[in-house]
């Protein structure tokens, strides 16, 4: 049998640059690699010497998709370092803001980036002609996320209202009521999206590999914001302040990004990880959605991460409505967050759409940042993608180069990787 060479530079419909390399001969895989050639961007160096009040604004620029997540993780770390407490109202509003980003990011991934795979297209554009109703649903739901972020974060991307101790601007009760109405109106659209994905779920490859999943866990709630670090490999919970002992970052020669491992050679984070650790805590509609999509706790099929994202969108809409009910019944109270800097070292953690995200900062007594450490979810998934490749490639290499390539690309996309989040400068050729 002739030699098979699969070389994808770069994988499309993901954020950033990642390459797939497979060499096989006589039907046997000789070498398979998930390569990350993206240039590092040194945000940890950029924040050194900067004021504690500026950190969340700077690091929000790490990503245009999950800028709220980075701002929140940074703010929690700063508050942890400075010993700043926040009100229950601030907590709820931050969680609500965080939910709007989960909606925005998950709908973007499932609707714009994964749906073309399931419908046999190279991009979302042809779907505007073949599936206009689905695309309108996706746009409406995506907009709900974006405009929710604009209301609560002050902008559609890169929020400006989040600050240590609270918010620089609070939503008016009328604005919150309007947002709640939009969340309620989104429920039938979510049901339509779930039905569309259910009808296509059979097109997701049936590939299972026992995997360690890591996510935030917090008693009584399917959490994205508070809690400790949980793993499917252990009952033990790890405090956020010890996150370095979980991620165990190391350098891989095939990647410019660091890789991580804990109890095994690799672990996975993201929607499927959260689901596997918290499925019992889903609210009723989200639980029904999971059942209708055939998603069960303990699922080790990475392609099902996109399905878990659909379930999570339902979960955050359902819980978001409850949160807004509570906020409105209590009334929005004016707050004047104020704090004085002090020397300290603190870690912060939230669940980014793509998985658990850690930030750590150290400050001197004037509040000047001395050092930073940021561990993003995609870095934590790189080693697991490699391990999936090593298991999957031998199973599919006999199916022909085109199908094998597509299945490997789909696997990468299922992780919803955010490989770089760097500049997006246009390269233009005039016609």
């Amino acid at each position: 049998m002739p030699e098979t060479l699969i070389e994808v530079k770069h994988v499309t419909r993901v954020e950033g640059h990642g390459n797939i390399f497979v060499r096989a001969s006589d039907g046997k895989v000789q070498r398979v690699e998930w390569q990350v050639p993206e240039a590092p961007r040194f945000f940890e160096a950029m924040v050194r010497g900067r004021n504690w009040r500026d950190i969340q604004s700077i690091v929000s620029r790490i990503c245009g998709i999950c800028s709220v997540t980075h701002s929140l993780a940074a703010t929690k770390a700063v508050e942890n370092a400075m010993g700043i407490e926040v009100s229950e109202q601030t907590d709820k509003l931050r969680i609500l803001l965080h939910y709007t980003e989960q909606i925005e990011s998950h709908v973007l991934h499932v609707g714009y980036l994964v749906a073309p795979d399931l419908l046999g297209q190279k991009s979302v554009v042809p779907l505007t002609a073949t599936h206009p109703d689905l695309i309108k649903t996706v746009i409406t739901l995506h907009r709900l996320g974006n405009e929710g972020m604009e209301l609560l974060g002050g902008r559609m991307t890169h929020p400006v209202t989040i600050m240590p101790g609270g918010f620089s601007r609070l939503p008016a009760e009328a604005e919150l009521r309007a947002l709640k109405k939009r969340f309620e109106d989104a429920v039938p659209l979510l049901e339509a999206l779930a039905a569309a994905i259910a009808s296509l779920a059979g097109k997701l490859p049936d590939f299972n590999r026992p995997t360690e999943y890591i996510a935030l866990v917090n008693p009584g709630v399917y959490t994205f914001y508070h809690g400790q670090i949980g793993s499917t490999d252990t009952e033990e919970k790890t405090p956020i302040d010890k996150f370095e002992s979980v991620v165990n970052e190391y350098v891989s020669p095939q990647s410019t990004a660091k890789w991580t491992k804990w109890h095994r050679d690799s672990y996975a984070v993201g929607a499927l990880a959260r689901f596997n650790l918290n499925a019992d805590l889903l609210l009723p509609l989200a639980a029904r959605t999971a059942a209708s999509l055939g998603l069960k706790k303990g699922c080790c099929n990475p392609y099902m991460n996109s399905v878990a994202q659909v379930v999570e969108v339902v979960q955050v809409v359902e819980h978001g409505i409850r949160l807004m009910d509570e906020l409105l019944s209590e009334g929005i109270k004016r707050e004047s967050p104020c704090a004085t800097p002090k020397a300290g070292n603190g870690a912060g953690c939230v669940e980014a759409p793509r998985g658990i995200l850690f930030h750590r900062y150290e400050f001197d007594k004037t509040g000047t940042c001395l050092r930073a450490n940021i561990c993003i979810p995609t870095n934590q998934n790189h080693a697991n993608i490699q391990k999936d490749f090593e298991s999957l490639a031998p199973q599919i290499i006999g199916r022909g180069q085109d199908e094998a390539r597509l299945l490997l690309e789909m696997l990468v996309r299922s992780y919803d990787p955010c490989i770089s989040c760097s500049t997006h400068c246009l390269n233009v050729t005039f016609v």
């Binding site: 620029r61 980036l113 309108k136 902008r155």
Partner: protein, 156 residues
């Protein structure tokens, strides 16, 4: 009420000349009273968020750092469809693919009837704050070009 027109800056403030579009829009927004009916929006590297920023407006001007093969600092106006994203094979959420966004916007029935892009040729898009010398030297011109484009669009 949503303004009928928008000037949308695209770019990353922490990646050198990539910030040009955002900085130009922010600079003109200081004179927003001269442009009633215009929203000045920093979309960052927002990708698909741009879809919502343009929805339902009559006209939109994008200002973005663009590699066009011109001298660093040059500015050029072009219309969506007039340019191909060379070397970009993906519909990434971070690559501004105007064609894809416009198709989606049309499907939703909310695409502006008038759109233009002001591309600014960068010298460097390496990490760091502040524009390079060629772009700094022409910065006031960029703001004037955007102002003229908006006036033309509103008047048209």
């Amino acid at each position: 009420m949503k303004p009928e027109f928008a000037a949308i800056g695209l770019g990353n403030l922490y990646m050198g000349d990539d910030a040009a579009g955002v900085m130009v829009v922010n600079a003109l927004s200081a004179r927003a009273s001269e442009f009633p009916g215009v929203a000045f929006i920093d979309c960052g590297t927002g990708g698909f968020a741009v879809l919502h920023a343009i929805a339902g407006r009559r006209g939109v001007v994008f200002v973005d750092c663009a590699r066009m093969g011109l001298e660093p600092g040059a500015i050029r106006r072009f219309a969506p469809g007039e340019a191909l994203p060379a070397g970009v094979t993906s519909r990434s959420s971070h690559a501004l693919d105007l064609d894809a966004l416009i198709e989606l916007s049309k499907t939703a029935g909310e695409c502006p009837s008038s759109m233009a892009v002001l591309g600014i040729e960068p010298l460097s898009t390496e990490p760091g704050q502040g524009l390079s010398n060629p772009l700094r030297a022409h910065f006031d011109d960029y703001v004037s070009v955007l102002a003229a484009e908006l006036r033309r669009m509103i008047g048209g």
